[in-house]
Amino acid sequence: MTYLSAGIAVVILLSVFIYVFQKGASTLSWDMLSTNYWAENINLRFEKSEPGAYAYQGTLPEGTYFSEKFGFAVKDSIGSDKKKQIVITYIDENSPLKSALVDTAGTLNNTAHTIHPGSLVQKFTFENSKGVSRSAGVIVNQDAKTMIKTLDTSGVRLLGLYYQTSGGGIAGSLKATFMLIGMSLFIALPVGIFAAIYLNELAKKNRMTAMIRSSIEMLSGVPSIVFGLMGMTVFFPITALLGATGPSIILGGMTLAVILLPVIIRQTEEALLVVPMGLRTASLSLGATETQTIFKVILPSALPGILSATLLSVSRIIGESAALIYTTGTFVNDNPKLKEGATSLAVQIWSVMSGEQPNFELASAISIVILVIVLILNISVKIVTHRLNRKWSV
């Protein structure tokens, strides 16, 4: 019976992993981690526009077409919105595409621009042998093969390119997640640690402290969405004073800090309990004050425990979604700022799945990222607590 139960647990765990990995592995890439979620439209023109004679290094993969005149390769693909796309897969070192300049009104006009593989070609403008400007690309209903053929047969000069960045990245959410972690730890760590010190070292053991302790324990049982509601109504006026107009990272960070408090207080208290009583009496007998004892002896000894509390908190933040939906919002923000709304990784999953066309692959890929981070954090907690135990078993 026990074997069976343990077996079921392992099977469930494995199937979750396998399912998520199978769905997400193809989407997972360095580009996904480092690019924006929203596609960006970019208009370029070329400084160097004359054709040359280029050759593809190695064999051309199936379905990929190479422009011998302008030195780049493209292939067909279908986007997550089920539309046909032409994706740039390769750009030669001397290709005109390497000399691109931004061609839009504004401050960025005429600045150099690097086209990354993965970009989606909307249209190329070129001049044909009669000196007339023509277009080729998705906009004029061409696929990769015909677009390259058009360019290579009638293109005399490459004039411009209009393309979309691929989008679907999680760079913004990653950044927002780190901001949330920083923000909430910044509030919750000092408050939690000092509360734990008070409860464990200074408070008299009476009914009052027992009540405080049990209410802290009850806090950890409250569903996080309730904290989200509370944060939205209680903290919003504070963040509004700071200049946030709606859901913001500050608001989310404050709410998360409240969620983290019980975790941090409990863990820190446990770390303080492990510190031998003898060290306290030794320190006091040497004429140290209570404050000196706490800061010079007890806290340093409890540091590994506090560190593991911090790591646990971080994994809690990464996994949190319900409390953030109300407080940081669900709009994926590629350039998150403290006073603006953004999504954490977990909320981005919710966000990409809740549209009309759920993007399952991206959601799974984000899940992999979350699982890997949480796994790493859990292992570090194990290592830290192991070290803690070894230190005191002397």
């Binding site: 003898g278 009496t281 030794a282 040497l286 140290a288």
Partner: protein
Amino acid sequence: MNKFEVKNLNLFYGKVQALKNINIEIEENKVTAFIGPSGCGKSTFIRCFNRMNDLIEECKIDGDMTFDGEDIYAQNVDVVDLRTKVGMVFQKPNPFPMSIYDNVAYGLRCQGIKDKKILDEVVINSLKKAAIYEEVKDRLDSNALKLSGGQQQRLCIARAIALEPEVILMDEPTSALDPIATAKIEELMIELKKEYTIIIVTHSMQQAARISDRTAFFLLGDLIEVGDTKEFFHAPRDKRSEDYITGRFG
């Protein structure tokens, strides 16, 4: 001369009376040993001398206890100052999980002394006085927890000496140590009594007989007898002391 004078001291843990009407004088530059069976109040009593019982919430003390003529339980007494004058070594060696150097320098640093020269000098002198310097002089930076039990206990003595106290309280300092380490600590105590007043709690009557000048015998919270060690062990005045020494109980 008397370092401490205790008159009619009573100590309660909640409603339980742990010490009953204790009267004793502690002489300067002598070793005074407290002996008695477990639970007789001798450890509780030694913790009165540097007010370590303050840490126990339910502990109440009445009676007089003077240190160099001043009442140490008076309202305006600076406990921190008292504890720097009355050092303490505990039953279980309890060095801080820091380097040997930092352990000895701890008390001074708590007083705000940061001058490296002064610290160096005091640390080395204290380690020498505690007869451990030769063993650790090459590794003052290594963690004190790596030392053996006996070395740790001598380090704790060095740590207490570093504050240049007038009195050193020792609460069963050798009960967790092997005979060789015990012998070293005893030797050290005989050396130290030239400069310090020492009060030691011990379970071992042989130890009390070997190193102490005066012995006090406690039983169930009462101080039964106090006197010169030789007299105490050869001709105890009280029947109960005699029974204890001869091993009839305890």
